[in-house]
């Protein structure tokens, strides 16, 4: 496809990742190469099919198979991506079939990440152009094939529902009958893309393609992989991070009916049985002595002490505007610090991975956000070359960034190496919570000055772990700056003449940190929007008016703010101890304003009453999915704000399951109204948007209801009790 020429000029065919801090997390555009002349690059057979690019396969019956470069974890890409492809391809959407992309960085790398990964709420953003171009190019080839057959001008033909029609002569022909002719044609260089006003699929609330099977139990998730002769295993890693196995007494475990084998690795013990029950009972019966190692004394208190100390030092300047010193000198100065806790993901589907390892092959069945890394690390663990490792992608029972990691696949392969035949390794929920890769703790130190009702200067220092430095050092971590950790801080939406954003990399001891449903934005939007409310109060202004006054440079966000003010009944009187809180954010290229209405009762219990969001997310590919994603994301964020915190004592995570890691439940969730605004801009990201918007809006609602300015999450209910009110 034509873009390959551009890409060929790049130093390597690996995606090159450039980051423009000013624009937050935006990365250089790069399109995977479709190499019709390099079929060996596509493990999925394209024999007998018209396969003009990495995403589209059409066979002689006209069956159109779309290869999904991004994975389905609930966010709806298995509907949105086909809609985009089918739109430009003019394929019969009711008949398209989907196929998971195999691991292949060249063909399926995420253009914004440079790796074959699904995350950062960018599936639609990143693939918007390449998929439209793939569809359009394919359609052009099919039309040209038809035109040649009919000896007419392609321009005189039209295409719809997988059929090319020549109106003048009343002839029409299905895509299936054109595949051979089309395959012989060159891939057009610059296929014309549709004018958005001609879209027939994009923008419509089409039914999701993945949900029918999910409604009757027939959908297959990673944890549902079933193979003949398969065994089942569950595992225990040392409860202390980094600890090792010292000694294992397996007499009792071996006696458990159905237990076949105890696999002892240096850091993990697994029990293999006829079924999960045998494995679980076996694990309970094991007497494991751990060598807890150097981390056995680490506690949350120490981690916070370290982070607080680190956050006092100067950081690396990620962005500087105007003259901070001058700005800080004028007007009244205010300071605040905001802190966010470790968070687990607790995807509804616990970590799991099924493997079949033989001396010269390794097969993996898993639902992952990063199939190519799973393949790479499985190969390492198996001691086999990459091409000997096959990875079968399944649906994900939730991702939230947890499945951007490969640890569950690595340990499964290490276990599988010692097991004869296929084995499904399923983590208990306790293991899932206690050996997660956690959303980091963060601390944000802010100073600002106010002069005539506006912010004159803004000094913002974010301190915390760099996930990028581990996960995507090339491009994600540059000159001491983690582009995700400062996302939504360097590009905060307000017009402020003098500002400086700093980053201090502070890695917690022992505790592994990773992505979540939003990471940098979760943290920065919480701190920025919380402090905005405190400043509004200092300035004696209504929180919305205060924000509006500084949003001239951000019309899309201003419009969203105005709409949410109207829809949420902002300003209408409320009973005592009930408040409304607002939050605006430009994160993930979606411009959203959110109002949470909440009550704080005399015991300090917080009750959600109503949530309203207005969002300009550019062209809404499937507005119904956007509404669902925002509702879900808001609930995800509000859950964390109310209760989410992983604490460490003696090097161990103290939470273990839903009895001590609390989830919001249906009886606690209010009406959530989402207003999707019309827009002709390119699509924005939506998966993490709500999770980022909920916490600050709730925090500000509590501030409005009680006057108590919470500076850390989760919400401290004791502090909100009337009895404790200062």
């Amino acid at each position: 496809m034509h873009r390959s020429e551009n890409s060929a000029s790049l130093p390597s065919r690996r995606a090159v990742l450039k980051s423009s801090l000013a624009a937050g997390f935006t990365l250089a555009f790069y399109l995977p190469v479709r190499a019709a002349n390099e079929p060996e690059q596509t493990p999925d057979t394209t024999a007998g099919q018209f396969a003009p690019n990495a995403f589209i396969r059409i066979d002689h019956t006209g069956k159109t198979t779309l290869v999904m470069p991004q994975v389905e974890m609930g966010q709806g890409v298995y509907t949105a991506i086909p809609m985009i492809l089918a739109e430009e391809l003019d394929a019969d959407f009711s008949k398209v079939e989907l196929k998971n992309a195999p691991p292949n960085e060249k063909l399926y790398a995420n253009p914004m990440l440079g790796v074959q990964a699904t995350g950062n709420s960018n599936s639609v953003r990143a693939f918007w152009k390449p998929l439209r171009q793939a569809g359009a190019a394919t359609r052009a080839m099919l039309m040209q094939a038809a035109a040649q057959q009919w000896q007419v001008d392609p321009a005189s033909c039209t295409a719809a529902n997988s059929v090319v029609t020549h109106a003048a002569s009343g002839r029409s022909i299905g895509y299936g009958d054109l595949v051979d002719a089309a395959a012989a044609l060159p891939v057009p260089q610059d296929p014309p893309l549709k004018n958005p006003k001609d879209f027939t699929l994009i923008g419509k609330p089409l039914k999701r393609l993945d949900t029918p099977k999910k409604s009757n139990g027939s959908a297959i998730y990673g944890i549902d992989a079933m193979l003949p002769g398969m065994k089942f295993a569950t595992l225990a890693a040392c409860p202390v991070f980094g600890g090792k196995v010292a000694k294992v007494d397996d007499t009792a475990a071996k006696a458990v009916p159905g237990v076949h084998q105890i696999v002892v690795l240096d850091d993990v013990v697994a029990v293999v049985g006829d079924h999960m029950w045998a494995a679980k009972k076996g694990l309970d019966a094991l007497k494991i002595t751990w060598d807890e190692g150097p981390n056995a004394k680490i506690s949350s208190a120490d981690i916070w002490a370290d982070l607080r100390a680190a956050s006092k030092k100067d950081g690396v300047v990620a962005k500087s505007v105007g003259d901070l010193a001058k700005g800080l000198a004028q007007g009244e100065r205010f300071d605040a610090e905001y802190e966010l806790p470790f968070l687990a993901h607790a995807t509804m589907e616990p970590m799991n991975c099924t493997v079949h390892v033989t001396p010269d092959s390794c097969e993996v069945w898993i639902g992952t956000q990063t199939i190519s890394r799973v393949q790479q690390y499985a190969a390492k663990a198996a001691g086999l070359p990459l091409e000997k490792v096959t990875v079968h992608q399944h649906l994900l029972g939730g991702g939230f960034g947890r499945r951007l990691e490969w640890d569950m696949a690595e340990s499964a392969v290490r276990i599988g190496k010692q097991v004869d035949g296929p084995v499904k390794v399923v983590w208990t929920r306790e293991e899932d919570v206690q050996h997660d890769i956690y959303r980091p703790v963060y601390r944000n130190v802010i100073s600002a000055t106010l002069s005539d009702g506006k912010i004159a200067a803004w000094k913002y220092r974010v301190s915390g772990s760099s996930v990028m430095a581990r996960w995507l050092p090339a491009g994600g971590y540059k000159n001491g700056i983690d582009i995700d950790a400062v996302d939504s801080a360097v590009d905060m939406p307000y017009d402020i003449p003098n500002k400086q954003i700093e980053y201090v990399r502070a890695e917690p001891p022992a505790v592994p940190t990773g992505f979540w449903r939003g990471v940098g934005p979760n943290n920065n939007v919480f701190a920025v929007e919380s402090f905005m409310d405190e400043l509004a109060r200092k300035a004696g202004k209504d929180p919305i008016d205060f924000r509006r006054g500084m949003l001239d440079g951000n019309p899309r966000l201003k419009a969203a703010l105005d709409l949410v003010a109207e829809k949420s009944g902002w300003g209408q009187p409320l009973p005592a101890r009930v408040g409304r809180g607002v939050c605006v954010q430009p994160s993930f290229a979606s411009f959203i304003a959110t109002v949470v209405e909440a009550e704080v009762d005399e015991h300090g219990e917080v009750h959600l009453r109503r949530v309203t969001s207005a969002v300009d997310t550019g062209i809404a590919v499937n507005p119904d999915i956007i509404v669902a994603q925002l509702q879900g994301g808001l609930i995800f964020g509000l859950t964390a704000a109310l209760w989410g915190e992983i604490t460490i004592e003696n090097g161990r995570v103290q939470q273990s399951n839903f009895n001590d890691y609390r989830m919001l439940r249906i009886d606690e969730v209010p009406t959530i109204d989402i207003h999707v605004m019309k827009s002709s801009e390119d699509p924005g990201g939506i998966g993490e948007t709500g999770a980022t918007a909920g916490p600050p809006a709730l925090r500000n609602a509590i501030y409005a209801a009680t006057g108590i300015a919470l500076r850390r999450l989760p919400i401290d209910r004791k502090a909100l009790a009337l009895a404790n009110k200062a």
């Binding site: 139990g217 029950w277 879900g632 859950t639």
Partner: protein, 151 residues
Amino acid sequence: MTTLNINGESKTFDAPDDMPLLWVLRDVLGMTGTKFGCGIAQCGACTVHIDGNPVRSCLLPVGSIGNKAVTTIEGVGATPVGAKVQKAWLDLEVIQCGYCQSGQIMSAAALLASTPQPEDADIDLAMAGNICRCGTYVRIREAIKRAAGEV
């Protein structure tokens, strides 16, 4: 050997009496529609019907079921209420990742079977034991009401 009546079929298998039904369904019978979420009756992902009542199969010893009728997500569509619920779920696009939805649908079907016209309070009490990490609660509530309208 144990024999159970599952979705109207009698299935015979070999499993210890104390083994939870969940693992019999998933690992022994290969019926993977019923999901594992917590193993301590706190999430509802493993919900099945025993004689029509919603039960958490992760803690239900298979030996205690006897000849009671077991219905799972694979079979609930054959009941009128189950079919209505599944339809409402799709009409309103409740489902996101879907992992919790087998349990949500089973709990909702049981609710509608016993309370054909549930009020919000009834929905809260019947569904509060089912966690959805994707946060589909708003639509679950709407879909139950939609299904009630058609039941």
